[in-house]
Symmetry: C2
Subunit: 431 residues, 2 copies
């Protein structure tokens, strides 16, 4: 099948999904739980082949670890599906109702987006998460996973498609692409695909943007900052700045740069440097930092780097404003935190830092769809359009305007035969 045919089928499947009852969509999710269980041996065996091949090709240990799909991963994925079933239906809600003129009511009603292309990395469990979020929100997905997980993904999509089929949906609501050429071809189908979500490196996301007219939502880098203000509580600062860095080194919401106000640097940095060293974190500091603690010198490049590793860059700043400027200039608009007891400084930071998540006195590691109470996420958006931060079910929906009248014409409005009432009503759309 060529990509145009795949996208056409996905579009057709999306129209049925978009008008189906939430019970029917939940039934598909529930069958996914069952069929993943039924097919577990096939899935695990396929994964063993993928893992063995990746090992023989010398895939790095952390990536190999993410590739493994065994009993505990299956249980997690099934638990995720159960929690998704329990979430409220995100589509068909009346957001507001305006009476425009007598007998004419405008309803904004949430609805699914349509066809979503998702390109994701090596974790096969991401395939189930993404597909199930899409189905729950009434969307079709066209998926492309990592090459190293191909057999596992094929086994998983087989179970998912049978669940869709047996719930009364077209299995084409979830289709798996297998090659890079398929992705290139998919990017041309802007008449049939509504949104592309790439998960991957900054360069990869830019490649997608440069090669498609389809809107792109996704996150590029996560260069998160913690700024220790002059009015910080020192113990709280130690705790939060350390957790943001070391709790998980390889995630997008980990701290990459620490900024410290010069009035507190002498009290904060020496003790904090000890904590970092104890946790095997390499420090790269600016000149002022280097005069207070032992560290490698930080280059301009360091401020722009997402290490995803046991490295922290540190800069001493002379003011709150300088900290904000640094973050807006070098950051990636993901998540940034101020440590301060001063309400005014906190407000200035939260208002002026141009990021999806702006935190006060809490670890950057909290930037996550599950943590935020969204159930799950398809990714974290560092853009500002449509969806910002963790994208859950709501990020996969849009709205339409339903206008219900009884023969109103613009000629009547222009002539004054009818007049605008523009009343806000508390009413759900009856259709």
């Amino acid at each position: 099948m060529n990509l145009h045919e795949i996208a056409s089928r996905s579009r057709a499947a999306s129209y049925d999904l978009s008008v189906s009852s939430v019970e029917k969509r939940n039934k598909a999710l529930s069958l996914m739980i069952d069929y993943l269980e039924r097919d577990r041996e096939l899935i695990f065996d396929s994964n063993k082949v993928d893992v063995a091949e990746a090992e023989s090709e010398g895939l790095a240990a952390p990536l190999l670890h993410r590739l493994v799909f065994a009993g505990d991963k299956l249980k997690q994925v099934q638990a995720g599906l159960r929690s998704l079933i329990s979430l409220e239906d995100p589509i068909g809600h009346t957001v507001f109702c305006h009476e425009i003129t007598e007998g004419l009511k405008l309803y904004r009603v949430t609805c699914s987006i349509g066809v979503i292309g998702v390109i994701f990395e090596s974790r096969p469990d991401a395939l189930v998460q993404i597909t199930s979020l899409a189905v729950k929100s009434g969307n079709s997905v066209i998926l492309k996973g990592g090459r190293e997980a191909l057999r596992t993904n094929q086994a998983l999509i087989h179970s998912i498609r049978s669940a869709l089929d047996d719930a009364g949906f077209s299995p084409d609501a979830a289709q798996l692409l297998e090659t890079r050429e398929d992705v290139s071809a998919m990017l041309k189908e802007d008449a049939l695909i509504d949104l592309v979500i790439p998960r991957g490196s900054n360069a990869f996301v830019r490649y997608i943007m440069d090669n498609s007219r389809i809107p792109v939502l996704g996150h590029a880098d996560g260069i998160c900052h913690v700024y220790v203000d002059q009015d910080a509580d020192l113990n709280l600062a130690f705790k939060v700045a350390l957790d943001s860095k070391i709790q998980n080194l390889s995630v997008c919401n980990a701290e990459e740069t620490l900024l410290v106000h010069r009035n507190i640097a002498e009290r904060f940095l020496p003790e904090f440097a000890g904590m970092l060293t104890e946790n095997h974190v390499e420090i790269r500091g600016d000149e002022m930092t280097g005069s207070l603690i032992q560290c490698k010198p930080a280059s301009e490049e360091d401020w722009k780097t997402e290490y995803l590793d046991a490295i922290l860059s540190i800069r001493v700043v002379s003011s709150l404003e300088q900290a904000i400027e640094h973050i807006n200039h070098y950051g990636s608009h993901h998540t940034d935190c101020i440590i301060t007891e001063n309400d005014e400084a906190a407000k200035t930071f939260l208002d002026r830092v141009d990021s999806a998540g702006v935190y006060r006195n809490v670890s950057t590691r909290f930037a996550d769809g599950f943590v935020y109470g969204f159930g799950a996420e398809v990714g974290i958006s560092t853009g500002k359009i449509h969806s910002r931060g963790p994208m859950g079910l709501e990020g996969l929906t849009t709205y339409k305007y339903k206008l219900l009248g009884n023969g109103q014409t613009m000629a009547e409005m222009k002539s004054g035969a009818r007049r605008y009432t523009h009343r806000i009503l508390q009413e759900d759309c009856p259709l």
Copy 2:
């Protein structure tokens, strides 16, 4: 100044606008009313030169008409500014509040987008509308108007920039580009510009999408349909189908294709054809239409064409489903209407037609930001991402997550020392 410098200044100005009080932003709008009055002679004189030049170059009459900026246009623009001042502040609203764990609260708060590039057509009044909507919502704009309106736009932007200046904002919150090369250069500034809104032809919007990584929102074609169902009230159908076509021929929400159910075609079409002919509307019909009324034959191309003229294509369909398929296939996802007394048919149409506006028994001409009660619009979005249909103040805003804690770490969550509470609270963000 090169475009990078222009965009950098726009970005800097946007940060101050984004945190300013609504009183200060309203003050700028109010000064715009005054300064446009103060500078009226300069503006009118500049416009006269533009119009004379356009006339000598043979600009078509409807475009010439749009180019004129005289006393009545100034009054309209000033009335628009007054109505905008009276609208509620769109930024700084807490959308929701979640308690994540004890003492840790997540607030989603609306905020401005940042820097918006707008490319608009020959009407100079659009410059004031767009800029004032941007200022009210805390955004900077970089504007590019039609070449033929350059002197008028220069005069208008001068008054607007003095108003910004005297209200205490940087005048660089509103900058006017003058050449096509400037637009090309602007499209490269994806690190500094957050959104581009092109108003123009389908081909022009595609050119923008193909040449920028900046998200694009805008409308391309408006191919709007009216479908007369077998259960239509005939008199209502005549009235709405006619108004949708003739009330204003050259606008994006005018009807371009009429679909008629075959069970009602014999009763509807002959009389309706008489009304069209009376109003000098040319008819292009499919074979079945041609067997019922006199008309030119419609080609495949007709179904894809936005005439913006006194032409209507007509097709007889054998079912509601065929009408929906036609609209989803050939339409532009702008606004489409069903005429029916049958609730079930109406619901199917409203749910399955994949357009920003789906109407029952009312003219398509109602698709407009003022009519919808949004005060004004920067354009009508036919995409599904971020904003759909008429884009008013809300379309120029996004949100950020403010997370306020007192030292919470992910290590505590993972160890179970703290647990997730995930309570929804009715609370505004205190910072």
